[in-house]
């Protein structure tokens, strides 16, 4: 392999890495949830009605690709809308799956399932901090 070939391979590798990194979105969770809450603050009844939360969730997540949209996913499963209850988070995930016509999260493409698990973890941890760390 010549020198320029070698440099070219490194260039390809760096480009692939950059693409992978740009496909990965990292955000601080708490400010994000606060941001969503203030964004939705003027929606009448927001955070007070579970029926409203299920309706919002169905509007936001209409196909598996929506699970690869971090803003939509975290907005759908945000603890304030689900009144900070683990049971509501679980029901939220079930509602989301049923909106996609799925019985189990394992039927999702791997990246979508991973996002769903991580978003649920983020939401559950916020709820746990509120509940247990007081």
């Amino acid at each position: 392999m010549g020198f320029f070939d070698f440099i070219g391979r490194i260039g390809e590798g760096v480009s692939k890495l950059a693409s992978t990194v740009s496909n990965f979105f990292s955000t601080k969770v708490e400010p994000f949830f606060s941001g969503v809450s203030s964004l939705l603050g003027d929606v009448q009844g927001f955070g007070k009605s579970l029926e409203g939360a299920w309706g919002t969730l169905k509007e936001l997540i209409k196909n598996p690709r929506d699970l690869l949209n971090p803003q939509k996913l975290l907005a759908a499963l945000n603890p304030q809308a689900l009144l900070g209850e683990f049971a509501n988070l679980r029901r939220g995930v079930e509602t989301l799956l049923s909106a996609l016509g799925l019985k189990s999260a394992s039927e999702l493409p791997p990246a979508a399932q991973e996002n769903l698990v991580r978003a649920a973890q983020a939401s559950a941890w916020q709820m746990a901090l509120e509940r247990y760390a007081a």
């Binding site: 409203g52 309706g55 936001l60 690869l68 995930v93 189990s104 990246a111 399932q113 991580r118 916020q126």
Partner: protein, 149 residues
Amino acid sequence: MSAPPSTEQIEAIKNRMREDPEIQRLAKTLGVTLERFLSDIEQQGESVALHDATTPEEKSRAEEEIHAAAEKGYGAAAERQATLQGRHDRAATAQSARREAEALARAGGVAKKAAPEKLGTGAVVAPEDPRGQQIKAQVTAARLAPRRA
């Protein structure tokens, strides 16, 4: 919580979560084991790393879409609640009217039983008794009604 939790606090919180049946069900719904769900939960709770396949256009529309979805979701819920409340009010009015009619019928029965011979000629009732007032009104109406031939 303002300060980040210590390692001991994190473990204590995870233990509480581990015992919670709802967390166990949640992990099952997500298709992962409970231990997998709890393993790095504090990291996701601090700074969540998610795959992002949104286009720049979708990103710029996201806030608008989230707001619109919430308005639709909560709007529909409020509308449904108002409809149910309306039904509830109508049902309550009907029930109240039915109860009133039943009370009147019962009161009439009591008056007949107490003084059957006096009906139509003026039954004596206590003026402070509201049921008595109703009976009195009925009796007066009966007196004023034209007699059948």
